[in-house]
Structure formats: structure tokens, C-alpha cells
Symmetry: C2
Subunit: 340 residues, 2 copies
DNA sequence: TTGAAAGCGGTACCAC
DNA sequence: GTGGTACCGCTTTCAA
């Protein structure tokens, strides 16, 4: 049974002693240095000694001595604030780093911002950092730069001027939803936003507004918690409203599902009575009843873009602006032409 | 615009020089040592110099000198393999660590296992480690112990004898689903498992089998990808089967939703024609049409248990066995008594 | 082919 | 109150 060690961990000196060689030799062997001329016999003895002692190199010491980073990539993004599509992209990124032999770490702290956050990340002396622009400001960037971070990408809905930006516009999510519904013939749409919209949700709403104005369709806005109560009242109101909208654009698929659900409780059906389109291609959206039309972009592609950009920055190339893949409509059953 | 630094990062020596004091004094001031009698003037000069230089302490160096860990908690669990409820618990754990001032990091690598994985984690010299038993075997545990890890918890469906275990039995997920359906009066249930069940899914199925046997209800098993095709054929078969089951227990909510969807396509409705119960209380399950009955446990409670256990282990207390909160049924609309 | 020794950036003990 | 200094574990010349 595991029980914490009281004596100190074996060091390379212990290995050297056990193998009857010097610490330098141990270092050579264990790191498999290209032009280290160590005899096969010595090498073997060192390896064996290391195995026997259960030796594990100390990253801190190695980093200190060699100057190499403790972590390959530090991801300091809360994901939750940027919609499910971005969250998927981050997961994909992490998954791909291991294939590339980059040891990526994800920071649990998602609250700290500004210079303080910069310090938090810089302390680890990572080679690369991915952060959200909302938390990584100019000061934080400077801290990271001074700490020797080689590559930094901040992401947000717009570009920043102090660091390479990955722009993930949220407006098109709202815009494309409205565009899609308008194209189907809907002239009165209601936009369903979260009760307390985060930055991403606010942008999506703004995008919907812009597009609605542009296309000359009427857009009402309702804020609702995903929880049923609010939505039920709201749907019920719709039921008896002669001038009710014919379509709903929801800020995300969760809201869209909840809306459809509330509609059903009020005796309204999608898409027969109202069309509904969501966002983020929630797992399950494709199997929802009705199958949910949604707006998303290719998360894997974004992961690839990021990985590529980091590779380029590491190679010394300068990166300024990265763009998320264009959002696209996944038209399924929940949106259709309005009933006449 | 961010551009990597060429000169080296400022060190505490630079700060000392700038402030006209010694490195020792800088260390005292920056760490706000309790009984360090540093004059207010000196303290101020040091702080100012640090700010001006954009100084960030080097965790590696600090860890090396003080012996303290580089990371407070290292989470090395893929989450994906343990069902959505466990994934939620991990997220909750990470969220709570920051409140407790523990700097937790999550490892991106989810593939490495055994001693090799142990090395991977131990290199960071974390204070505590949370790993899945499938990847952290006896050897890995020993490596971690030797590396000075103070607290280790491995989690899996059963306890292991080499380390403190968090047991998260998956069988009750299947068992309780069957029990619920049987209690409603269903005597012929079909269990819907993923096409390629992971360890958790396999356990859930086994649990369903056990309980079915115990209660004397018939349990058929169907493996299906969540994708529609297989399910559609399957549902269609059900449609014209005089001896068709009257209920479905799905391995997870995603599958349950897909099943209901496929059923609907085949002209069958839940719960009127078949009852359905899922698992993991998927966000959206409550708003599904019909609202999905599901099996889950309190993820926040599990996070609390873990945090508490880590605290105890850090305090030197010995922890052997931790148990996940009991699974519970969330009865909603999708499951009901069979039609006569 | 191997060993000796000088750091890397901090911490902490012990003088002054 | 403040500075000197011996480590922490490892890498990396440079000699032997």
C-alpha cells in the first residue's frame, strides 16, 4: 500500500554511486546524448542502477540547469466561457500535443487575470502559453515575455495588439442563425439568450442583431435560464400571441433544446409551429427530437491551426493573427420554412 | 506586440542589485516571511525593483531549493473513460482546488501507463497525484512514492491493494436502471451498450445483468453506436416484434437520447411504447423530449471527498479506501409502467 | 571514455 | 535588520 516516502528521492548522484561512475556520466547515459562516448558496459550499469533505485529525474533541477522549460505548453483557458465548440477545440489541441511529444499542462485556475495571472503562468517557465484575451492583458503578456516564454497565443472574440491573437468571432454564430432562418422565410425571430450572458453569448446576440437589421427581419430578444420555468412561461406566452415569432435562434444547443422542450409543454412543436436553431453542435443535438439545426465550426481544424502556429513560433517565425475556421450551418430538422 | 525575449529573465539577483540589497533580503521580502524583520523602507525598495524589472520567481529554482513541490495536485485522469458523471466530478475538483489555494495541473497525456506514466508524473515532483487505476499500477505507484509524492489516489471501478483507492463502481449504474424498470413492472428489458464498450460501459452492462438475474427479468443486450443507422434498424426490428421488450436501459444518456430518437423514427414513443432510462444526467437530459430518466451520483460530493482525502493525506493521515457517492435514480418522464 | 567543477535561481541558516 | 554562503539536483564544458 502506498505510504509517503520519508527519506529523500534518489538523485542522479545516488545512481552514479551505485553504478560506480560520476554524475556526469549518469547524465550522459540517461539523456542518451548523441556524441557521448560511453562504453556499452558503463551505460548498462547506469541504466540498471537507475532502474533498481527507482530513479526519476527532477524536472525542476533539469530545467534550472539546462534552461529548458518545465512545461511544453501551458493551457490557461477556462473553455467554459467560450462555448462548447471552443471547448472541443481545446480538448482536441491537448490530445494532439501528446502525439507531437509536447507535454502540455492545463492550469486549473480560471479566475486570476492580468499581471497576477501572468505571474502565475510564468512561474512555471513554460515554453508556450495559450490564454484567453480576457485574462491575459498587456501586462500579463509582458510578464510572460520577460519570463522567457517562447510562444504565446491569446484568444478571444477580437484581436489584441499586444500579442498574437487567435480570433474566434462569436457574432457569426448569431448572425448565421438569423441568416438561415431568414432564408427559410422567417420574418419574425426571437433570440434566446442566457439569463446572464457571458462575453461569448453577448457577442452572439450582437451578431444576431446586426444580421437581422441587415436583412430587415424583426428580432426580439428573450433572456432565459436554461431551466424550465422561465422558458415555460415564455413559450406559453407565444402560444396565444397572434403576432408571435415563427422562429427561435438560441444562443446554444442547450438553450435550444430547453426551448423546444418548453414549446412542447405549451403545445407548440418544432419545426411545425416554430423553427429552432441552436449553436455548438452539442453531442446529442443530432439525436434530439427533432434533430437540432445548429451553428458550429470545425474544432479539429482549429486545434490544428493552433498547433501549427505554436510550432512556427517556436521556430522563431512571427505570428500575428490566427483565425478560427468559419462557422457553418448544420441544417437538420428543427428549422424549416414557416407555416403559411 | 509579443516577441520572445532574447536576454534571460530577471532573477532575484537582478532585483537585489537594483534595490541595493542582498538576495537573501529579496527572498524575505518577496515571500513575506513571518519573522523577517525587514525595514519598511527596504521592503518597499525591493518590491518596487521587482515590479520595475517584471520579475517572476522561478518555480523550478524555488522547488529545488526549498524542496517544495512544483505542482500542488497533478490530475492524470482522462475522464472520458469513466462516464460523464466522473468527468463532472473532476471538473468540480479542479474548480475547488483553486479556492483552496492548491495549484492543480492537469496532464494532457492520457495514453501512457504503468511505470512509464509514473515517471512522467513524478518528474514534476507534484505534492499529490490523482490517477486512474487503469494507468497507475503498482510500479507506477512505487515510482511516485520514491519521487516524494505525498498523496496519491487512484480511482477505478474496484479498489487496488497498492494505493489508496477511490472506488467508483460502474455496475450500480446498470443495476439501478434495471431495478427501476423492473419496479415499474417491466419484465423484458433491452440493455443498450456502446458498440465498443470501454471499461466503464462493460461494468455497467455487467451490473445490469446481475440485477436482471437477481430480479428474474429478461435482459437482452444490443450494442450500438450512438450514430443513427444501427439504432434505426434496431428500433425498426422492435416495432414488429410481438415479443419485443418494453423498456430500454441505456449505457449513457447520449445513447438513451439516440435510442428514443431512433424509436421515434420507427413510430415508437417513449414512454408510451417503451420506457427508457439513461445514465450520467447529461446536461440536456432534463430538457429532452421526453425528459430523460437517468442514473447518476452527486459529482460535487465526490469532488469534496477527494479534496478532503488529499488534505488528510497531506496531514500525514493514512487513507485506504474512498467511496463514490451512491448512484441514485433521477426519475423523469421517459420511464413509466409498461402499457398493458 | 570518464571525471571534476562551475553554475542555473532560489532558500535558509548563521553571522554581523 | 541585513548580508554571506552553503546547498538543492542536474547539465555541461573542459581536462585527464
Amino acid at each position: 500500500m502506498f505510504t509517503p516516502q520519508v527519506v529523500k528521492a534518489p538523485t542522479s548522484a545516488d545512481v552514479a554511486l551505485a553504478a560506480g561512475v560520476s554524475r556526469a556520466t549518469v547524465s550522459f547515459v540517461l539523456n542518451d546524448k548523441p556524441n557521448s562516448r560511453v562504453s556499452d558496459d558503463t551505460r548498462h550499469r547506469v541504466l540498471e542502477a537507475a532502474r533498481l533505485l527507482g530513479y526519476t529525474p527532477n524536472t525542476a533541477a533539469r530545467s534550472l540547469a539546462s534552461g529548458e522549460a518545465v512545461a511544453g505548453l501551458l493551457v490557461a483557458s477556462s473553455a467554459a466561457d467560450h462555448g462548447a465548440t471552443v471547448a472541443r477545440a481545446l480538448d482536441a489541441l491537448l490530445a494532439r500535443t501528446v502525439d507531437d511529444g509536447i507535454d502540455a499542462l492545463r492550469h486549473a485556475d480560471t479566475a486570476t487575470t492580468g499581471a497576477e495571472a501572468g505571474q502565475l503562468w510564468a512561474k512555471l517557465r513554460p515554453e508556450a502559453v495559450l490564454a484567453e484575451s480576457a485574462r491575459c492583458d498587456g501586462e500579463a503578456t509582458e510578464v510572460l515575455r520577460l519570463a522567457g516564454v517562447r510562444a504565446l497565443i491569446v484568444h478571444g472574440t477580437t484581436a489584441v495588439d499586444y500579442a498574437p491573437s487567435l480570433v474566434i468571432p462569436q457574432r457569426p454564430f448569431g448572425g448565421l442563425a438569423v441568416e438561415h432562418l431568414a432564408a427559410l422565410g422567417h420574418e419574425h425571430i426571437v433570440y434566446l439568450a442566457p439569463a446572464t450572458p457571458g462575453p461569448a453569448a453577448a457577442e452572439r446576440l450582437a451578431g444576431a442583431r446586426e444580421t437581422a437589421e441587415l436583412l430587415g427581419v424583426r428580432l426580439d430578444v428573450t433572456h432565459a435560464a436554461a431551466s424550465a420555468r422561465t422558458l415555460r412561461d415564455w413559450a406559453h406566452g407565444l402560444r396565444y400571441d397572434a403576432h408571435a415569432p415563427t422562429a427561435i435562434a438560441a444562443s446554444d444547443d442547450g438553450l435550444a433544446m430547453a426551448a423546444i422542450r418548453a414549446l412542447a409543454d405549451a403545445g407548440l412543436r418544432a419545426p411545425a409551429d416554430l423553427s429552432v436553431v441552436g449553436a455548438d453542435d452539442h453531442p446529442g443535438a443530432a439525436d434530439f427530437l427533432p434533430r437540432l439545426s445548429t451553428i458550429t465550426f470545425d474544432a479539429d481544424a482549429l486545434a490544428g491551426t493552433l498547433l501549427d502556429a505554436f510550432a512556427r513560433m517556436r521556430a522563431g517565425e512571427r505570428v500575428e493573427l490566427l483565425e478560427a475556421p468559419p462557422v457553418r450551418l448544420v441544417a437538420r430538422e428543427s428549422s424549416a420554412a414557416p407555416a403559411r
